[in-house]
Symmetry: C2
Subunit: 470 residues, 2 copies
């Protein structure tokens, strides 16, 4: 019986000693990170350039290519060990000249409404598309109405986001099938077009674009799909109650081209102890075209760049190799995220930790994790370190689209979790612009990310610890 007791005592003593030492060192380190981020941060200036000098960065656009060049150049200035571009073929879809739409309640009696083509949609015929409308509350309703009531009509998906869900991402998740699957499903019933209520919790005049998919629908059967502003959706719904056989007209001029070459932008600080174990921090460099993509996801890119910049500035040399990855084409293809994971697998690169910021540049609340209970427990043990910075959210959940393909049994995946209340006010709309960014909130997000990367680098993931025990 002696050994177990001594062993236990030793464990308790060393753990306690270890715990105390590291906690003081860690809290000093976090304070330093936050001071630097808030007093001499660089993320806001980077975002200013990306948003105001470059603008919306749709995959395959000149703006996207300029963003690749700019961020590569900026990473090169940081004195990282390596900076490179990872080639990836991306879809090229263009909006063309602005969309135009109206509701016609009687011949010549029209009300113009704000719409925008959904990303990936086909154009309307040259003269536009005019048809009667059937309003539904979701894809499930199509079977209820059947071909008889749908054929030849425009299907109007009008299920609103649920305002009583506290996390707006949950409200988005409960509606976005209308946008993504709506055209494909409606076409099966002979619909000629699709109008989708914007994924927006506010009542306003801005249409919100976003990806849609035709799946395996043959090209000849693809019908055009647009988003309509929430105000106009309410107006259309009200008008349909008064006159069910009104006409809806829209014209959109979008086009899908052949894939073009683009790049993920990658910078690396090589690890001192585990150079072949990789931590990734990133966001996506592409955006939709209506705004300048400041929240989605310029913010995530510059916050990720800030992580490596702060480490360099503090002369902190991570034990594991740390990569910042600015992924291309999250919005309409995820080609960058997939390419990065494919190449990592080909090269047998051992990725131990991935952190993505793609939920806007708002005041950070914490992180969501895609990991096991042991790792989550380790993270929760860091809560006291984060408390002075009002970072309180550490739960399992969604991490990020771009790092998702890296998932395996071992890697810890995480997503920055900013306050979500205002995110869908701007998401994929023309008001996702630099003026909607608060400098401090952006910087606090970058500081929280840097702190989390520091702690994972220092303490490793639990699966690493398990490996060491073997």
């Amino acid at each position: 019986m002696k050994h177990p007791i001594f062993f236990t005592m030793f464990m308790v003593c060393s753990f306690s000693l270890f715990g105390q030492t590291t906690n003081k060192e860690d809290s000093t380190m976090l304070r330093q990170i936050y001071d630097m981020a808030l007093l001499e941060g660089k993320s806001y200036d980077w975002l200013d350039y990306l948003s105001n000098e470059i603008g919306g960065r749709l995959s395959g656009s000149i703006e996207a290519e300029r963003a690749v060049e700019y961020t590569k150049k900026e990473l090169e200035k940081l004195g990282l060990d390596k900076v490179w571009l990872q080639p990836v073929m991306v879809p090229k879809w263009t909006r063309g000249i602005p969309e135009y739409a109206f509701i016609e309640t009687a011949p010549g009696i029209t009300s113009i409404v704000n719409v925008c083509a959904l990303g990936g949609s086909v154009a309307t015929p040259d003269g536009g598309l005019k048809a009667e409308v059937i309003e539904v509350q979701g894809v499930e309703d199509l079977a209820k109405y059947g071909r008889e009531k749908i054929e030849g009509k425009i299907v109007f998906y009008n299920r609103p986001m649920q305002a009583n869900l506290i996390e707006t991402h949950a409200a988005y998740g409960g509606c976005v099938d209308q946008r993504y699957d709506g055209a494909r499903e409606a076409a099966k019933y002979g619909a000629v077009g699709v109008v989708v209520r914007s994924m927006n919790l506010r009542q306003d005049d801005l249409p919100h674009t976003g990806a849609m998919s035709y799946g395996d629908t043959p090209e000849s059967k693809r019908i055009p799909a647009c988003a309509i502003s929430t105000n106009a959706a309410n107006y259309l719904s009200m008008a349909l109650k008064l006159k069910s056989d009104l006409n809806f007209f829209f014209k959109q001029n979008c086009k899908m081209y052949q894939d073009v070459l683009s790049y993920n932008v990658i910078g690396e600080i090589t690890g001192t102890e585990f150079p072949n174990q990789y931590m990734v921090v990133g966001g996506h460099l592409d955006s939709w075209d209506l705004g300048d993509g400041s929240h989605d996801d310029g913010a995530g890119c510059v916050q990720s760049m800030e992580v490596v910049r702060l480490f360099k500035k503090m002369n902190y040399k991570p034990r594991h190799s740390l990569r910042v990855v600015l992924f291309m084409n999250e919005e309409n293809g995820l080609r960058g995220g997939n390419k990065y994971a494919e190449e990592a697998q080909l090269k047998k690169e051992d990725h131990v930790f991935g952190l993505e910021s793609d939920s806007g540049g708002f005041s950070p609340r914490g992180f969501s994790f895609d990991t096991d209970e042991a790792n989550l427990a380790q993270v929760k043990s860091w809560e006291p370190l984060f408390k002075p910075y009002l970072i309180h959210y550490f739960e399992n959940g969604y991490s990020g689209a771009d790092i998702g393909p890296l998932k395996n049994d071992k890697i810890v995946l995480s997503g920055l979790h900013p306050d979500s209340q205002r995110y869908f006010d701007y998401h994929h709309a023309s008001n996702d612009t630099f003026d909607a960014i608060n400098k401090r909130e952006l910087e606090l997000g970058g500081a929280a990310m840097t702190s989390l990367v520091y702690l994972f680098d220092k303490y490793g993931t639990r699966s690493e610890l398990k490996d060491l025990k073997k």
Copy 2:
């Protein structure tokens, strides 16, 4: 030994039973509160009227009186047990025609800069005031420079808010003495005027007003004081480095009148069990005049009104009497808060709980408390109930100016604690307007307040429990 054991067992059982029952009931109640606040809230409409139909509500102004009338009428619609106005004499200070200022680096070479009179300041002479400038980093610097270097000059207080403090209120607290005491102190050294860097963490062109005090300085010795935008403060500081004897000119046309009659607006739901024990929830109805006072503190008023509205809607009858109080004159006198407390004392009203919302209508993080450890421990036991709503902050600290005068050994005082990052972007400036309010964030604050009032009403304060034991 039997009795203690049985007693302990009984305690454990009943507590556990009680705990379980109430937790389920409580979580259902909170869900109901949040659903109603987010799906059919009224606070945003009320604030729209206060902000856009009435506007800035400086004490003694017509707007303040219109706000008294409007909110009284709206409270009367709610079917409360009583609604009344509590008369209170308030100061009347007016800004007059807009201020005008410039930096003169050589005769006729001028740069116009944005300033505004501080609340309570005297006017400049009719022709304006022009003098050389001495820049200081705070009131403490005056003694260092002495009368010799200050006399006849304008003192320019330019200590900025500290950006690396996580809570912006702390950064404000570290600077606001320049605004409040600056003129009084500078006058002692013969200064002729005061220019104060705006209490704003952003670099922008908006001057931020706010209260200042001359203390017992005789009227003849009072010098005019204005706030200058952060951009202009940086410009002035830079210009002074290039030319230390430049002149600063400002003209302001403000005036202090005799006190006038105004009112606190009060509504009450009389308690079912403890009608003579009062819970107060409130904000202040007055605001500064530059914006429309949406964040400071229209938000707090309509959130407080929402608390009693939700209780009525849910047909929840509080055990203690619940009062909503819209205090007059928080900004430049605190006459309303003082009057309410005085009258409560005169009438020997037993106030057990006070909750104020006066930190903006931003996404709520929790509450700060001015109470003892026992009460704080009770509050912390409610954390799991609030977790689904991302309410995580429960710490002792500042509660609110208006409810402060109610403080005694027994009452629990609390302040809603919204995210503070953007508060000072708008505080006391012309951009504190309705468009800076997010509907959901406002409603979430009202729901959190209603939940806290419900819990205090149900479980009482610990001091009440102690009283019962007597």
